[in-house]
C-alpha cells in the first residue's frame, strides 16, 4: 500500500513541524485515513481566538484522489456548508483540480487561508456570501458570535 507509506510520512512531517495555528493527530490510532485537526482562527479574521475541529479524510487511492475536509465545529463561513457535515469547498480539492503532488500541509494551509479570506464567488452558502459582499460588518459580527459560541 503506497498510500499508507506516504500518509504516515506526511503525518510525521506535520506533527514534527506543524504549520502555524494547526495541530494534527489521527482520529483513531491505527487508522491513517482519518485525521483530526485543530485549527486556530487566523489573527485579523472574525474567527480569531476560535479553535476549530476539522476532519480530514483521505481516500484509499490517495494521492491520486483528493482528500475531503469538513468542519466538525460549526462555523459561519461562505465556503463551508452550514449543515451537520460542514463540508468545505476548496478549489484544489475538486477531482479535476487535484494534483498528486499537492501535500496535505498545503491543503491545510489553504483551508486556514480561506478563513481569513473567504471566496464568495466559490461559495456553497449563497446567503452568507451575499452578506460578505454587501454587508461586511454584519457578517463579521455574526461570524465572531458563532466563533464565540461554538469554537
Amino acid at each position: 500500500m503506497g498510500s499508507v507509506k506516504r500518509i504516515t510520512k506526511e503525518l510525521a512531517e506535520l506533527t514534527q513541524s506543524p504549520p502555524e495555528g494547526i495541530t494534527v493527530e489521527l482520529a483513531e490510532e491505527g487508522d491513517v485515513y482519518n485525521w483530526k485537526i485543530h485549527m486556530e482562527g487566523p489573527e485579523g479574521s472574525p474567527y480569531h481566538k476560535g479553535n476549530f475541529l476539522v476532519k480530514l479524510s483521505l481516500p484509499t487511492e490517495y494521492p491520486f484522489k483528493p482528500p475531503t475536509v469538513s468542519f466538525v465545529t460549526k462555523i459561519y463561513h461562505p465556503n463551508v456548508t452550514n449543515d451537520d457535515k460542514g463540508s468545505m469547498c476548496l478549489g484544489m480539492l475538486r477531482a479535476d483540480e487535484w494534483k498528486p503532488s499537492s501535500k496535505i500541509a498545503a491543503v491545510l494551509q489553504f483551508a486556514r487561508q480561506l478563513l481569513s479570506e473567504p471566496m464568495p464567488d466559490d461559495a456553497v452558502e449563497g446567503r452568507i456570501a451575499e452578506q460578505y459582499k454587501n454587508d461586511r460588518p454584519r457578517y463579521e459580527e455574526v461570524a465572531r458570535e458563532w466563533t464565540r459560541k461554538h469554537a
Binding site: 503506497g2 491520486f64 498528486p100 455574526v142
Partner: protein, 453 residues
C-alpha cells in the same frame, strides 16, 4: 516510449522486484528534490516527462492508470497537468546516483541486522551478504529456515529440542545458549534493591514484597510527591494530609463527572432549541418582511411599525425572546392586514379584467360598425348607379309624356290591356286603373325622390 509500452514495462518490472525500496528506514537526510512528488520517497527507477518532471516509474504508471481518460494516448502530468505523451526512462545518472547513495537500514533489522548501507546496495546485501537473511536449515530432515550467520558456525540443525537439566524444561537448540546463561529460572540473581540473592523464577514475587523497594504514596494521584520504602509508607500514609482527603476528593470527582455529563446533555438540548428558535425566527422575519413590503406603498405608519421588528431582528439575533414576543403580538394584526391586502389585490385584478373586457367589446363593436358602414356605402353607390340608369331610361319617357297625354285616348286600349295584366298581380286594380293617367307624372316624381337620396 509511449504510454502502452511504458505500462507494459512497469508491469513486468513490478513482478521481479523483491525489496520494497520505499519501505526502507532512511537514516541519512536527503534533499527534498530527490523526493518523488507522488510517493514522497527518494526516486525509485525514475522516469521523466516532456515537461521535465521526474517521477518513480511505478508511481507514474499508477498515476497514468488513474488519470488517463479512456485509452487516449496522452495524460496530464501529475505535477503541472501539461498533457504528456512520451515517457523517457533516461534520466541523468547523477540523479540515480544521488538516490542510490542515501543511507538506509537493512530491512532485516527485525531479525537483528544493524547494518547501515547505501540504498543502491540493499538488494545485493539482502540477497548475498546479510548475515540475518534466512536460508534453509543444513539438516536435510529439517524443513525450517535459519539465519545464514548461524549456518557457517554450526552445521547441525538448530531446531532440535534440547532438555535443560537444571530447570527441567525443553528449549530449542538455537536458543539454548542464551537460556543457559541468562534466562534459566534456576539461575540465581540478586535483588537490585535489597541485594538478597534469589532465583530468577522468584524474583518477580520478591520485588512485590521487597522492603527496600520505594513505592509511591497511595495519594499520589492527588499529587502527593512522596515515594519511600515499603515499611515507611504506612507511617507516611497516616500523617499524609492528601490521603486523609482522599475520600473527599473521590466524592468531588464523582460529582464533577456527573455534573459534566449533565452539562453536556443540557448543552445538546440547548443547541437543539437554539436551532429551532433560529428556524422560527427566520420564517417570522421573512413573513414580516413580505407584509411590510406590501404595506410600504400605501400606509407609511403601518410599514413603520412592521419594519421596526424587522430591523431589530436583523441587528440583534441574540435578543431572541424579546423579539419573538413582539413579533407574536403583531402576528394576528399583520395576518388580518395581509388577508385584507390579498382581497384588495383580487378586487384590483377583477376590475382590471373588467376594463380589459370592456375595451375588447368596444373594439369589436367598432370593427363591426365600420364594416357595416362600408357595406352601406357600397349599397348606396349601387343604388345610385341603379337610379341613374333608371333616370336615364326615364328621360326619353318624360320627354314623350306631353305628347303621350294628347294621345292618351288613342292609346287607351293598349293601356287597359297593360293595366288588366297588372291587376291580376296587384291587389288594387281600381287604384292602378285610376293611377293609369298619372303614371308619367309619378314616375318623374319618384325620379326626383331618387335624386334626394
Amino acid at each position: 516510449m509511449n504510454l502502452e509500452e511504458f505500462l507494459a514495462m512497469e508491469e513486468s518490472r513490478e513482478q521481479d522486484e523483491l525489496i520494497d525500496l520505499r519501505g526502507l528506514d532512511f537514516v541519512s537526510e536527503y534533499d527534498s528534490h530527490l523526493m518523488c512528488p507522488i510517493c514522497h520517497c527518494p526516486f525509485v527507477d525514475p522516469v521523466h516527462l516532456q515537461c521535465d518532471h521526474v517521477f518513480c516509474g511505478s508511481c507514474l504508471s499508477s498515476a497514468i492508470t488513474t488519470f488517463r481518460s479512456a485509452d487516449s494516448d496522452d495524460f496530464p502530468c501529475p505535477s503541472c497537468r501539461v498533457p504528456a505523451k512520451e515517457i523517457s526512462t533516461s534520466v541523468p545518472r547523477l540523479l540515480i546516483n544521488m538516490c542510490d547513495e542515501i543511507r538506509v537500514r537493512c530491512p532485516l533489522l527485525t531479525e537483528g541486522c544493524q547494518e547501515i548501507i547505501p540504498r543502491g546496495h540493499v538488494q545485493s546485501h539482502v540477497e548475498k551478504y546479510c548475515g540475518y537473511r534466512l536460508v534453509p536449515c543444513p539438516d536435510d530432515s529439517c524443513d525450517k529456515m535459519m539465519r545464514s550467520n548461524d549456518v557457517g558456525i554450526k552445521t547441525k540443525c538448530m531446531h532440535a529440542v534440547r532438555f535443560c537439566s537444571r530447570c527441567e524444561e525443553n528449549v530449542v537448540e538455537q536458543d539454548f545458549e542464551e537460556h543457559e546463561s541468562k534466562l534459566c529460572p534456576v539461575l540465581e540473581v540478586s535483588c537490585a534493591h535489597c541485594l538478597t540473592v534469589v532465583t530468577r523464577g522468584e524474583l518477580d514475587a520478591h520485588v512485590e514484597l521487597c522492603p527496600e523497594v520505594a513505592i509511591p504514596c497511595s495519594a499520589s494521584k492527588y499529587a502527593c510527591p512522596v515515594k519511600i520504602r515499603r515499611p515507611d509508607i504506612k507511617y507516611h500514609e497516616q500523617i499524609c494530609p492528601l490521603v486523609a482527603m482522599g475520600p473527599y476528593f473521590e466524592g468531588q470527582n464523582a460529582r464533577l463527572n456527573s455534573l459534566e455529563l449533565g452539562m453536556r446533555h443540557l448543552q445538546q438540548r440547548n443547541e437543539i432549541f437554539e436551532d429551532g428558535l433560529a428556524n422560527i425566527r427566520s420564517t417570522l422575519v421573512e413573513s414580516t418582511r413580505v407584509n411590510s413590503n406590501s404595506h410600504n406603498n400605501r400606509s407609511s405608519g403601518q410599514s413603520g411599525r412592521d419594519q421596526q421588528p424587522r430591523t431589530r431582528s436583523e441587528s440583534t439575533p441574540d435578543d431572541s425572546e424579546d423579539l419573538a414576543t413582539s413579533i407574536f403580538s403583531s402576528t394576528a394584526n399583520s395576518y388580518l392586514l395581509s388577508l385584507h391586502e390579498s382581497l384588495r389585490e383580487q378586487v384590483g385584478q377583477l376590475s382590471h379584467a373588467i376594463t380589459d373586457l370592456d375595451a375588447r367589446a368596444s373594439m369589436t363593436i367598432m370593427n363591426e360598425s365600420l364594416r357595416l358602414k362600408e357595406d352601406m356605402a357600397l349599397t348606396n353607390a349601387a343604388m345610385n348607379s341603379v337610379r341613374m340608369q333608371v333616370q336615364w331610361l326615364m328621360n326619353p319617357r318624360l320627354h314623350q309624356a306631353p305628347r303621350g297625354t294628347v294621345r292618351a285616348n288613342n292609346t287607351e286600349g293598349t293601356r287597359t290591356q297593360l293595366d288588366s295584366s297588372a291587376s291580376t298581380a296587384g291587389p288594387s286594380t281600381t287604384s292602378a286603373q285610376s293611377l293609369g293617367f298619372l303614371r308619367p307624372r309619378r314616375s318623374s316624381d319618384t325620379g326626383r325622390e331618387g335624386t334626394k337620396l
